[in-house]
């Protein structure tokens, strides 16, 4: 069976650094932080971290009420990012309902905020009489994907992978495979995340949330740094429009990059802690899928969230395959950990790096932890030829994912 080549023709982003791709890339390149202190978190008993990387300046009312009523913030972000991706790609409006276009957008959970609002009301008197019809559509696991398809009139395949921090990498990978196999000609794919204190608490109780920099929010998270003390939770959405290369070329689309490899695998050593061998194994699988060897990779975009355990394991895994030959950085210092959105937002950053031929350094990496020192860290942006990028995401639950991206020169 001959597989189709798959290209990226559109990028849409709602992020802590701004609400389109240009703002995201400008913020990343300039070394800006999207992290701030959220004083409201002081009111949550037992929560030590006061930090977040929130989205700012999104007005949900720009979406018609009929579509918005079934959307929580994560679906609002997904709708806006999808619109941006379609616009950037110049995707023909009359093809939205052709069946050739699908949607693969996931989230970690359905809306926690909507769940909280519902149960707050429900526990008053255990009555369901005040429950409105929009509730379920905001709480369901495929809320983002369904809302995007409904509001944009997309009639192809719709599904919603959910794998915490690897959600959008899996979404993009599965979309790549669907197009490669010819099941769809194009797919809007990525992940979305909305901030809720419960997410911060999830990491805080495992001593994996950043707590030492509450008064210096822009100094954390600190991937690979010796003073790193954990994750800062962010929110946002990244959506890529992937297309069959042939059909994209036929409609003379501007191709931004090619997706040439993907792997996802389960690490059963622990539900919470990563295993070096499993991480390295996932990267090797992706290289094999792309038909490449380690020597073909010009840059590794690490998952590196700024946790004690995760950063060391990933650095060791990258070192096993690439030694010190390939520059490595993480974008979590800029964006915090946008969880289900992180793969797609960071891959968008990688597409920007390919376009600019400039690698973006890890923000807040001042002194490399010796235990992370077996790789070449990017501590300053570097203008250099970049053709092929390997991007990792490793999730709670033992879900590993790696995507390989290649630059594309339009005629």
């Amino acid at each position: 069976m001959e597989l189709n080549s798959v290209v990226v023709t559109g990028v849409g982003t709602i992020s802590p650094l701004g609400n389109d791709f240009t703002q995201l890339l400008d913020g990343l390149t300039a070394g800006r932080s999207g992290v701030c202190e959220l004083t409201d978190l002081e009111q949550v008993g037992g929560l030590r971290s006061r930090l977040a990387a929130p989205v700012k300046g999104v007005d949900p009312k720009q979406i018609p009420r009929k579509f918005r009523r079934s959307m929580s913030n994560m679906s609002v972000y997904a709708y806006l990012a999808s619109q941006q991706a379609l616009l950037m790609a110049g995707y023909p409006e009359d093809q939205l309902g052709s069946g050739d276009l699908g949607v693969v957008i996931g989230s970690t959970l359905g809306s926690t905020e909507t769940s909280e609002d519902f149960f707050k009301d429900y526990f008053r008197d255990y009555s369901l009489e005040r429950m409105k019809t929009g509730l379920f559509f905001q709480m369901m696991g495929h809320s983002c994907a369904a809302n995007v398809a409904q509001s944009l009139g997309i009639t192809g395949r719709v599904f919603a992978p959910s794998a915490a921090c690897a959600t959008s990498s899996q979404a993009i990978g599965y979309a790549y495979e669907q197009i490669a196999m010819g099941r769809q000609q194009a797919i809007l794919c990525g992940g979305s995340e909305e901030f809720h204190p419960l997410t911060v608490a999830t990491f805080d109780i495992m001593h994996a949330a950043s707590t030492n920099f509450n008064q210096q929010p822009e100094s954390t998270p600190r991937p690979f740094d010796q003073l790193r003390d954990g994750i800062v939770c962010g929110e946002g959405c990244g959506v890529l429009l992937l297309e069959n290369k042939k059909t994209a070329q036929q409609r003379v689309a501007n191709i931004l990059a090619e997706v040439i490899g993907f792997a996802t695998a389960s690490d059963t050593s622990s539900i919470a802690n990563p295993d070096v061998g499993a991480m390295a194994g996932c990267m090797q699988l992706a290289l094999k899928d792309a038909g490449l060897t380690a020597g073909d990779i010009d840059y590794v975009n690490a998952h590196a969230t700024g946790t004690e355990v995760g950063d060391i394991a990933e650095a060791e895994a990258i070192a096993q395959i690439f030694s010190t030959r390939v520059p490595v950085s993480s974008l979590k210092g800029h964006l915090g950990h946008t969880l289900a959105a992180s793969g797609a937002l960071e891959l968008s950053g990688c597409i920007g790096m390919l376009q600019q031929q400039q690698l973006i350094a890890t923000l807040n990496l001042d002194q490399v932890d010796e235990r992370c020192s077996g790789i070449t860290h990017l501590q300053e942006n570097s203008s250099q030829p970049v053709k092929t990028i390997l991007k990792n995401n490793f999730a709670m639950g033992g879900i590993n994912a790696t995507i390989i991206l290649r630059s594309y020169v339009n005629d």
Binding site: E129, R130, T133
Partner: protein, 84 residues
Amino acid sequence: MTEAEIIELIDSSLAEEFELDREDMVPSANLYTDLELDSLDTVDMVIVLEGAFEFKIREEEAVRAIRTLEDIHRFVITKIEQNN
């Protein structure tokens, strides 16, 4: 509560819930063809009215016959009179 006050509470509650333009909310306005509500909105409308007037109407047969804003006005006014 006077009839005018009841009508105002109905209209303001529905305008807020469904983001309706008050100028479009004439008594003869059809909920579906003029105000562009749908079946999901109808379910929510009942909940909004129950909250605003603190009565239960979900199971009432007459609710199903409502088509215009005036139908709602008449229905609610009658319901409140019955409850008094």
